[in-house]
Amino acid sequence: MIALQMEFYKCKRRWLWLPPLLMLAAQMLWGLWSYIDMDARALSQGWADILYSFPLLNAMMTPVVAAVLASRIADIEHKGQTLKLLQTVQSAGSVFDAKFLCAGAYMTVFVALQLATIVIFGVLRGFAGTPPWSRLLEYTVGTLLTTLTILLFQLVLSLLLSNQMIGMIAGLIGALLGLFSLFFPPSFQRFFIWAYYAVLYNTVMDWNETTRIVTYRFTGFAWDGVIGILLFFAAIYIIGRRLFIKKEV
């Protein structure tokens, strides 16, 4: 607990909340802009529509923001060469856990704010029906798990390699993989953590080529995908933590 408190102390006045907040602002502008003009038909499928577009925006943006956040939280120790110092007073494992929980808290708040934005916007805009809470819950579970797994991966990279360039490049590549994973065949998607925004979709878009009408509707949620991303999370956590503990500081 003290270790976690220390991490938040280190974040003081470093404006770490700014990148997630900027991302949220960009998503609101970009995502919600397209919902200004809506007819009755569009409003009737509003919830499915908005839950289709936000994972796409997340897949494009969160890997980069996760890379920035992880790099800033990890790099502070590389810069001050303080890992040596830290490990005389606490175990390497607790440093790792505290850093992840600290960074994870920022991302969790971001996901919560994003959910609130979606719900408030949907209600104000007059999407048909009450908010589909179970769908929104599935969306939140999927988004949170994928985001935290990506964050964990970035944190491991940033902590293990003092060269922060590698982490940033990984974040950029992740953003592209996330975006392009929508075109991957479903079985192939499951090999990439960045593709789980696409795996954990609970909506589909039907595009009728002859009438040129797009229909959004809900489908089943891939609970096996949740297991997949949890396995990824566990694997990255166990391997990354062990490597960090064994790392010569």
């Binding site: 990148p19 920035v68 790099s71 790099d75 060469q81 922060q164 360039m165 950029l172």
Partner: protein
């Protein structure tokens, strides 16, 4: 003095793995661009010009600004580490020279990136089986893109100098890239530094000429370059050096 400073900056890049970024990012960008082109052959019928829109779209929005951010961040990273700013600032080198040397090196790296992107464009065009003659404007696109990237670099270098974080210039580059596209679409391309790249590389309407006159482009980009450069110099001159 300048040449020796530049040489020193190049020396800092040794064993930095920066070539890794220089190789991977353009390859990914070109790969995705070509993939997108091949998937939309029905709509994209102008051969090389259509391929260019796909390549330039990813490159100008995401990769090039991010890569420039990486270059800027890396060139300042060594100084931010181990109290090295104290060493740099106490050398008998004028601050404008230090900043100019850094900018020259970043500019050199972006020039290499531009050449590489050009080569990849030709290669992926050939692999995609394009038969039409290669666009004669390609060298012009690359040259103008290089100067736009140098302009961006001046602004991102300021962030890299002022904020002791590797991630900030990269993130700012990406944010700038996205906003740049938005500004360009809205028609304010010439007034926003990050729009100059897609504008000058004709990512939306590949033709020889830009959407604005060459003079306007040169004035705007040089203005932003000087603004960024002066910002860097003034910051370093007047801000107390914080090394750590």
């Amino acid at each position: 003095m300048l040449i020796r400073s530049i040489r020193a900056e190049y020396r800092k890049l040794r064993r930095s793995y920066i070539w890794l970024a220089l190789l991977i990012m353009p390859v990914m960008s070109a790969g995705f661009g070509t993939f997108n082109y091949l998937n939309n052959l029905g709509m994209l019928t102008q051969q090389w010009y259509s391929l260019w829109t796909q390549h330039a779209l990813f490159y100008c929005t995401l990769f090039a600004p991010a890569l420039t951010g990486v270059y800027c961040a890396y060139l300042c990273r060594l100084e931010h580490l181990n109290h090295n700013w104290n060493t740099v600032m106490t050398q008998p080198i004028p601050i404008p020279t230090i900043v100019l040397a850094k900018l020259t090196v970043v500019s050199g790296l972006t020039a290499l990136t531009q050449l590489f992107i050009g080569a990849l464009f030709l290669l992926s065009g050939k692999l995609a089986g394009l038969t039409a003659p290669i666009p004669t404007a390609l060298p012009l696109w690359l040259l103008r893109g290089w100067w736009s990237l140098t302009t961006e670099a001046a602004l991102l270098l300021f962030l890299a100098l002022a904020i002791r974080s590797f991630a900030i210039p990269v993130g700012a580059g990406i944010l700038g890239g996205f906003c740049g596209i938005a500004a360009l679409v809205k028609g304010f391309g010439i007034y926003f530094p990050f729009s100059l790249l897609p504008l000058s590389m004709c990512s939306h309407n590949p033709s020889d000429s830009m959407e604005c006159s060459t003079a306007a482009f040169v004035i705007s980009s040089t203005g932003f370059f000087l603004f960024g450069y002066l910002l860097c110099v003034l910051w370093k001159k007047h801000r107390d050096t914080q090394a750590g």
